[in-house]
Symmetry: C2
Subunit: 181 residues, 2 copies
DNA sequence: TTCGATCGTCACGGATTCCGCAGTTCTGGG
DNA sequence: CCCAGAACTGCGGAATCCGTGACGATCGAA
């Protein structure tokens, strides 16, 4: 169903192996560049369709042996390039109200962002440049719950100057990238 | 193993770690629609930590046999309550600029929303009530790409009255629910 | 050029897991 | 009370997962 090239559009064939590996000194890490080539991208694509697909099936699809796929997947997971997780439909698990909240802050952003991150209702927290300092996605059971979170908890945080809310009417598209580092 | 095969069906206050998948209605409250009970919620929680965790291990954690877990997982997938997928870090796969764009529209929202949904750079499209009609999350390779998407493609859509952009400075939290229906 | 070292890949065997198939128990109606 | 449906358990057989060792290629340095 989903469009195919979710994460791989524009395969970026330019300089996969950057300038030089340059770690003969023995430093095990030395990892800064995206070490993900077209094959790994294809593996990721397979796992984006089905996170439990057997390695052998993936290998057949991308032209690799089972062991090779296994090691690549393990490395991708270890390096934090991808995660394999279950994602749920908020509605079917009982959450009926979602909203994006734009927040302007007075002073340091970090404490506010951390406090929001700690809230279980905050699904998404990001610092932005624009007329808001922070954007937070809130997932709640119902209107009362949503009101309580926004009005009593978010607006009560020290440093929060103002908030503006956008209640979700209909979610049209949602794909899965993640970038917390 | 299980001394008493009692499937903790109803009351089991020994909730795992309140946070992810917090049960809204306080367990099996007057929530008729969601066909997902506390045990399935616990299973989902296990799979949110590791989408490839073996059924037997999940069963041990939630107090169910391997076969029972397998059947429940299959049903949850069939019913569309959850998906098991790989999620990627945009940065490591070559996308270095993200932004949320608030859009106000003249006339019908649907055609604009559909056009946005069709864009591969649009990671997230939602209709909202508030000072924007639509919120769109854009994932791009660099600033030029982002500028092109916002200025040339989004603002060029018929019906788009205005846009306001929030470039991501730092993503602090990201969890995985999904709700496209 | 030649050597040395690292990385990726392939191959294989044992332990584990997945999967289908009854049989049993529990719940809710008629 | 009896029945029907759903859910859970247990059990093999097949498939998969996982560690280990060896081969070949690439890159840097002498």
């Amino acid at each position: 169903m989903q469009s195919e090239g979710v994460a791989s559009r524009s395969a970026d064939p330019s300089s996969p192996r950057g300038s030089r590996t340059g770690n003969p000194g023995g430093g095990t890490s030395g990892n800064g560049a995206p070490p993900v080539d077209a094959v790994s991208l294809a593996i990721i694509e397979q796992l984006q369709e089905d996170g439990r697909r057997p390695y052998a099936a993936i290998g057949k699809a991308v032209g690799l042996s089972e062991a090779a796929v296994r090691q690549r997947v393990q490395k991708l997971l270890d390096q934090g390039v991808m995660q394999i997780v279950a994602v749920t439909d908020p509605l079917t698990v009982g959450f009926r109200r979602q909203a994006m909240v734009g927040i302007t802050v007075e002073g340091d952003l970090d404490p506010v962002a951390d406090a929001l991150t700690a809230m279980p209702e905050a699904e998404y927290v990001v610092m932005t440049a624009g007329s808001y300092d922070l954007l937070v996605e809130i997932v709640c059971e119902d209107d009362d719950h949503l009101l309580e979170v926004i009005n009593k908890r978010i607006r009560a945080l020290p440093g929060v100057r103002s908030t503006e809310s956008f209640v979700y009417l209909k979610l049209k598209k949602q794909t899965y990238m993640w970038g917390t580092r």
